[in-house]
């Protein structure tokens, strides 16, 4: 019985994680400017990572594999947001203004 509960729970987590990856992917493609795209992409780094890895850990059960998965999850949770931050910071330093695309689009709208 508990096996079944764990299985169902793990699949719910995996599907939710997959959904977050999908949302992140669509957002990266569709959102208007760099910062919003980065925001969407960083969704896969954090929320999707937690959900998917917890889901796989439930599948792995109480074993060495689960410990390794936890270590990888910790590593990804540390590096992913740091990489997002570094990207955003580098963009800001090189003079890219947040919301510029939005302002430009509005400006064109007024002109047209």
């Amino acid at each position: 019985m508990s096996e079944l509960v764990l299985d169902v729970l793990s699949w719910i987590l995996l599907c939710l994680g997959g959904g977050f990856v999908l949302i992140g992917g669509i957002g990266t493609l569709r959102l208007p400017d760099f910062y919003t795209r980065l925001h969407a992409a960083s969704l896969t780094d954090t929320m999707a990572t937690i959900l998917i890895f917890t889901g796989i850990m439930l599948q792995a059960g109480f074993s060495l594999a689960a410990l390794k998965l936890a270590a990888i999850m910790l590593f990804l949770l540390l590096t992913g947001p740091t990489a997002s931050y570094a990207l955003a910071n580098a963009a800001l330093q090189s003079g890219m203004r947040p919301g510029a695309a939005h302002a430009r689009a509005r400006g064109e709208g007024e002109a047209g």
């Binding site: 590096t79 740091t82 910071n89």
Partner: protein
């Protein structure tokens, strides 16, 4: 199911390759090359070649990207387009592609048990590894002992590459040169990457050592470990500045690692001859042939790891220490 995933990855590889060819921005090309390597690593993993996947991920996606970027800092970011000779290039590429496609008709199907490679040598390796070396990872046994000559050659290639790069790039600018080498300060003003990096570097190096000494039991070995440890030190150099990295691991130590690693490998072979065996026949290293083989593999893997780590770091420093073009 796995075949669908493999096809998906292979099509992504083709798309990435086309994108690399199409782009004129070299920075984008370097990033795409990194993605290409990562996809290739995933592909190797699907083909059950975990050792190769680890090497591809560590060297191809990790260190090569950093070295490409350091090289890019010395040159221009955009590709110089030369229109001349594209017809000849197209002709050569077409002919070569046709030849390769023609050659694949004779290739056995993927995973075909009747393929020639699975007929005599591979079964022999699988059968004899438990008997001769008694280690679980056959790849390490093949790499270190059965085909020790090839690996020795590879280590010498790495050694020669390192010496070559140092000869060309390691030269100090002359007295008259007005350009002062910039002392890269690293990412001093980027607090978050620095803190996270400091946290991670010890674990990266520790993982490298694990891969080094666990190579006989799991995927890994000298090449992967050397690349991983070099990645850790390069991360340190990127975060704290190149000078700090050189203080931590001076050039002398790097050269000693390269030379020491290559000599250790060759030396083990010579000791085998001295003890009455063949060159690189580790059975004579201990009273028990199996223990001798294990000792020999451990020693040569250490030599490989030292040489690769030292060579990659020397190459990185050779690029990073050049004055950037203004």
């Amino acid at each position: 199911m796995i075949i669908v995933f493999a096809l998906f990855l292979l099509s992504l590889l083709v798309i990435t390759a086309l994108a690399i060819v199409r782009t004129e921005n070299l920075f984008v090309a370097v990033m795409l090359t990194s993605i290409f390597s990562l996809l290739m690593a995933a592909n190797f993993f699907i083909l059950d070649a975990a050792d190769v996947a680890l090497t591809e991920a560590a060297v191809g996606a990790g260190i090569t990207t950093v070295i490409f970027l350091s090289a890019l800092a010395l040159t221009a970011e955009r590709e110089k387009i030369s229109g001349a000779g594209w017809r000849i290039a197209l002709l050569v590429v077409t002919v070569l592609a046709m030849l390769i496609i023609y050659a694949t008709f004779d290739k056995p199907r993927l995973g075909d048990p009747e393929a020639p490679v699975h007929q005599h040598l591979a079964p022999w390796y699988l059968e004899k590894t438990p008997e001769y070396m008694d280690i679980p990872n056959v790849v390490t046994a093949v790499l270190g002992s059965f085909r020790g000559y090839d690996t020795l050659g590879e280590v010498f290639v790495v050694f020669a590459a390192c010496i070559g790069v140092l000869f060309i790039l390691g030269v100090k600018p002359g007295e008259g040169a007005t350009i002062k080498a910039p002392h890269s300060a690293g990412l001093k003003h980027h607090l978050i990457p620095q803190v996270v990096g400091r946290l991670l570097i010890p674990f990266i190096v520790l993982f490298g050592l694990y891969v080094q000494f666990h190579g006989e039991y799991g995927p890994g070995g000298g090449f992967q470990a050397g690349a991983l440890i070099a990645t850790g030190v390069i991360l340190y150099a990127l975060l704290e500045g190149e000078d700090a990295a050189l203080r931590a691991v001076p050039r002398g130590v790097l050269l000693a690692l390269v030379i020491g690693g290559a000599s250790l490998y060759g030396g083990v072979g010579l000791v085998c001859v001295w003890l009455g065996g063949n060159f690189l026949d580790y059975s004579v290293l201990a009273a028990d042939p199996v223990a001798g083989q294990q000792l020999g593999i451990l020693l040569i893997e250490a030599g490989v790891g030292m040489a690769v780590c030292g060579a990659l770091l020397s190459i990185f420093h050779a690029f990073a220490a050049r004055p950037t073009r203004l």
